[in-house]
Symmetry: C2
């Protein structure tokens, strides 16, 4: 198994990414699980040296080209084939990597995934998902959080399938409860999109639909999978992140709020493409990078992508 | 000035509402500002007696009919003209009240307002607004939070006008900054609704548009007025309320989180109708009811409705 990691992506790269890679290496089984770093070797070497880490233990694909955080995704992916993200996706497509992750330009990661490994046949639109902590214990998943600002009911229906397979395989939830974000519990509540989606979901046998959920249900046990359009999901995600930042600023210590920390879950998987791809948070720390690598491994070992492909056959 | 209050509305009515009315009475100037309660006198009297409060100081319009929290709004308003909400709106329409507020059935309050005092000419759709605490100090306003699940760009543009006038008159903010909820700061980000609305807002001279704001900007100083469709706003509001509930549950004490408390701001004004109307939170406490009455007074004394009418002439 080869787990690809862009060491040039994120606000604290390559410092945080290389340190995260070292931590990840120590958590992996070196015989079966190989870490492949993509980025500027000359910047990585001093960090390895400083940490007393033998650089021969991890493969590095050297490149100096980088896609910046502010660059236009499609332009950057097309015009910078030798960027760390560009190379990562080329290797993923060729099969010389089994997964690819980066804390770099989110749009470039999404476009790169769709251009290279491509959308799974039958999937209308891939979704960016995010992992949310549950108050009692464990984690839920919410999707879409930004890949599709405008969605149609059949797209949201498919997000239910994608999220359900993720929760079942990665979080080990049996028959995951899928909820639709709405403005009330009642079937007749909602905007046109939510109303039409509710009708589709109510009749589906593709997952365990538990009905509408509201903004207040993100952290409780009503649903393991929360489905929404990418506009609503993105706004919710950024609002929820504020809450983590605020409690931290205020010095509130708590097990639940600690799990709010994006570092714990290691990034947002793109679901619906033909390979495991994870987008890390721009401000990813070494801990976040390590967890992104471990999440990549889970997505490979559980054969999540094959299961998604089978569901859409 | 006559301030109308439904004492039958809310989960803790009439206990919380009557206690709130007594507290409000003490905060008002009894010569100029008269409180008019609407509801079951027989249920209110023992509470007045218990508190040693002279019931002759506050006018009570007696009725035994009540619209329940779960009732269908339009049906209830039409079929229960003698409910406390029905009477309140009739008196407001006739001019025997200058404002009306209730912590009862939200839908019935919205429908009642639109059926009785009606939408201000020129306003496409009234909005339910909510007051949000700002981290530094003071309060902002967000609208719509649930009256209109589906919105059009021109409706959102008008929400900017309504919110701006509220922030200026009620919160005393000079030239309030109006932000549009979106998934990125950049002009080219967003769903179709946000993109089209941004274009309209950018060109308007009706308020001080400061551009897109994100989920993370709710509590900071980027905007005094946050505009969104009622679906997004409702989801955000309910998510934000969770934060308050959670920090309270966890025993975190903080001035900012205390201001998250819905009790502090006393309800959600319906903006765009021909009279001051406020919907209280279902779980309103006496403090919340008192503050709802004081907010009603501010909306009357500042002549907010006349200013809104003038803006849409």
């Amino acid at each position: 198994m080869k787990i690809g990691l862009d060491i040039m992506g994120g606000d604290f790269a390559p410092g945080a990414t290389v340190l995260g890679a070292i931590a990840a290496y120590k958590a992996l089984e070196p015989q079966q699980q190989k870490l492949v770093l993509i980025g500027n070797k000359d910047l990585a070497q001093p960090i390895f040296a400083e940490q007393g880490f033998n650089p021969d233990l991890i493969e590095i694909i050297h490149t100096t080209e980088v896609i910046g955080m502010g660059e236009h995704p499609t332009k950057a992916i097309t015009q910078k084939p030798n960027s760390s993200i560009g190379i990562g996706f080329r290797m993923l497509k060729e099969g010389s990597l089994d997964s690819f992750s980066s804390a770099g330009n989110t749009g470039a990661m999404l476009v790169g995934a769709m251009f290279s490994v491509k959308t799974i046949p039958g999937v209308i639109r891939p979704a960016i998902s995010t992992i949310v902590p549950k108050l009692k214990k464990g984690y839920g998943i919410m999707l879409d959080v930004g890949a599709n600002a405008d969605c149609k009911p059949d797209t949201l229906l498919q997000f239910g399938v994608l999220g359900s397979l993720f929760a079942e395989n990665i979080h080990g939830v049996h028959n995951p409860k899928v909820g639709l974000i709405n403005i009330g519990e009642e079937e007749e509540k909602g905007n046109m999109l939510a109303l039409a989606t509710h009708t589709l979901m109510k009749d589906t046998n593709m997952f365990n639909f538990v009905g509408n959920v509201e903004g207040r249900d993100l952290f409780n046990d009503k649903a393991d999978v929360i489905v929404c359009d990418g506009f609503t999901g993105n706004v919710m995600l950024k609002l929820a992140e504020t809450f983590y930042v605020l409690t931290k600023q205020k010095g509130f210590e708590d097990e639940f709020f600690a799990r709010f920390n994006y570092e714990q879950y290691g990034g947002s998987p793109i679901l619906g493409v033909n390979a495991p791809v994870i987008i890390g948070h721009g401000i990813s720390t070494p801990e976040a990078i390590k967890n992104m690598v471990l999440l990549s491994r889970s997505m490979i070992t559980t054969k999540l992508i094959d299961k998604i492909k089978a569901a859409f056959k």
